[in-house]
Symmetry: C2
């Protein structure tokens, strides 16, 4: 009903403008008094004026750092809206042997009427008597599943199918961690894999329902992972003070949420470029051939008020002094901020950052301080030193880092 | 970056399910313990459990009605988040003569750096000495513009073009009201018409920006209209106690927001079917040929937490005893609730409802109490007595209602 006049509007609405060039940046007023005339410009102006309240200030004195961290944690807790709900105890429903480890299926019950299964990989030789030196919660990227992270066949929910032959793929992060002697837990993201709607990865629809309820996709995702984390800490076959969160792509978002909310998490694997998502929204405004501007990303990334509090680099900075490895670059500007945070926290050696190979040499990276408005996505990626075809789980950086982490 | 694994997920993700029939309702668990296994089912279950807190209770005693109305108003005020900002005074920048009325262009400044223009139609003979008996704020539907509502040529922002010949179209609601001797103000919705981005009606992008900021499309839309209402009440050429809000389609949403927040609005023209949007989300779950379920509607309709507080019929009920005309039907169930509210408020004669002509006869309407889950959009419309091809501004009902309203 509310759509039927769309066509009329499109046909009759822009005769007056058809030959004008479209403003690429949204920042320019054509009026003498400087006021902006399109709604998107008005709102963009609001966004510029409502910069992150908790932005990391590299000039803060070291003794202010803990208070700032506490505020970051409070803000994330407020945004994630984890429910006041005591889930039933997880249940193990199946266990099979795999070469080098046991693979277990556990059911968790994060919400009333709900079931969310996770896979647990336990390296051979690990037991209550000989607990693992640590554990890792492995969070997949967009379109990925816990089965992919375990090197299992797609849809092998009841663990009835044999493991495919051959070396595990790069993406099989849980297996790579198990190879290092860690207990690895692979989860599905909300709406994906076993949590999909009859095979449809319906991120958008689930996100929309959640937003209607005043919740959000990341809130539910991180809650599901929180339930796993809380349970993992009660296991007696691992050192609960050495739990790592490893996130690939979309999976870095629950990593950041859990990281701020749980000071007892030990370390973090951040496998994506370190994006300043607010910069992206404000910069990536170049119109396409039809005059339409980019939609920043899908609504599973929409957390109302998130960007008015902080952006991704601020969150990683607030994880200091806990060990973090960033594996796929970003802006040196942002890495330098994070390095400053680790200095303030007294552990500069605990932050490790790698650029994509293509941008590894200092000489090929453009030193960026402000990302200019009016650019397209390719330009944004290039400025941020991103090499999209080589976006994968970087075992070459991460496995040596794990060795170092557990050396002492 | 976060999209590149989508294809992989789609290709490998649903092998296990491909031949299973998809559950149409989302309500059925395939497990003995009754728990649901898809995220969308989990969230749907949450939505069922979080029914509107302020739902109108027809059994409430009459003396509880004002307290409930106050709570409705508080909730709407909280959701609309109108800014604590004092806009500059509106300015008239142009006036032209039209047959039977003067047409004025006014600029308003609802946000810093912003300009939102409105058109004002002043019937001949109206002045401070001979003020109009009332005024109407006319709010367009999706894809419509203030120019359409004034019977002006599209894009005629500076009023430099002559009025097209001929009788005004049904959609020219501002002219119809001016013909009745009322001062009529036609506004643009956010992102539409003169507020569009160089002719692109970018509701989605603007809504997304607003949601990022913790605001929402309806919040900004209703704020722009609130600025117009507040200014209108200061004009000396009309009776400020007789201001009507008239909303077509999408325009009914700001009508409802303003109505709850401003007890001094005199009366309301609600020109759409009276939708229970929560019922729609919970019912319209039939998968399409590809197994995808309907997206409820675009995100300009997304107001986080709205549906946990109330739905459209509750809001109209809370407008009692102020005169309301609903012109395009809906469920008799909902109209009966509203009639009960008007009885409680002591003015049953002040609520007038019309069905679409196709559904006007009682015998053709199916008496619906609960809308079943698992239906598609056509079925939903049919159950709600909606006749989409005949969705237009119903002068045939509204103009006689105006005559009656001002008869005394």
């Amino acid at each position: 009903m509310r759509f039927k006049t769309l066509l009329l509007g499109l046909v009759t609405g822009f005769g007056a403008f058809a030959s004008d060039p479209i403003d690429k940046t949204l920042d320019v007023s054509s009026r003498e008094d400087g006021v902006l005339t399109s709604s998107i410009s008005h709102v963009r102006s609001l966004m510029r004026a409502n910069g992150p309240k908790l932005r990391f200030n590299p000039a803060m004195p070291a003794d202010s750092f803990p208070a700032w961290q506490a505020k970051m944690s409070e803000a994330m807790t407020r945004l994630m809206k984890h429910p006041d709900y005591q889930p039933a105890e997880p249940k193990m429903v199946k266990e099979v042997a795999r070469p080098g480890y046991r693979l277990q299926r556990w059911e968790t019950y994060p919400l009333p009427e709900s079931m969310v299964a996770v896979n647990v990989l336990i390296p051979d030789g690990i037991s209550e008597e000989n607990p693992a030196k640590g554990a890792v919660i492995c969070i997949p990227g967009f379109g990925q599943t816990k089965e992919l992270l375990c090197g299992e066949e797609a849809g092998n929910y009841d663990l009835s199918r044999p493991q495919p032959d051959g070396d595990p793929a790069k993406a099989a992060m849980a297996r790579h961690f198990a190879d290092k002697g860690l207990i690895a837990v692979a989860v599905d993201n909300v709406s994906a894999g076993e949590l999909s709607d009859n095979g449809h990865f319906d991120y958008l629809l689930t996100s929309r329902y959640l937003l209607e309820l005043g919740w959000n996709y990341l809130g539910l995702c991180s809650w599901q992972n929180q339930v796993v984390l809380d349970w993992l800490k009660t296991r007696t076959d691992l050192d609960p003070s050495r739990i790592i969160i490893s996130g690939f792509s979309l999976g870095t978002e629950p990593l950041m949420a859990l990281g701020l909310m749980n000071p007892d998490i030990y370390a973090f694997v951040y496998n994506d470029f370190l994006c300043t998502t607010r910069d992206r929204i404000l910069a990536m405004t170049a119109p396409d051939g039809n005059g339409n501007r980019y939609f920043p990303n899908n609504i599973e990334h929409l957390i109302p008020e998130f960007l008015t509090e902080f952006d991704f680099p601020d969150i990683v900075a607030a994880l200091a002094p806990r060990p973090v490895i960033c594996t796929e670059g970003g802006l040196d500007r942002d890495f330098n901020l994070i390095r400053r945070a680790y200095e303030l926290a007294g552990a500069p050696e605990n932050f490790e950052a790698h650029h994509y190979a293509k941008f590894a040499a200092d000489s090929v990276r453009v030193p960026v301080t402000d990302i200019p408005a009016g650019i397209d996505r390719d330009t944004f990626f290039k400025l941020c030193n991103v090499d999209p075809p080589h976006h994968y789980f970087k075992t070459e950086h991460i496995m040596p880092w794990v060795d170092k982490l557990f050396k002492e």
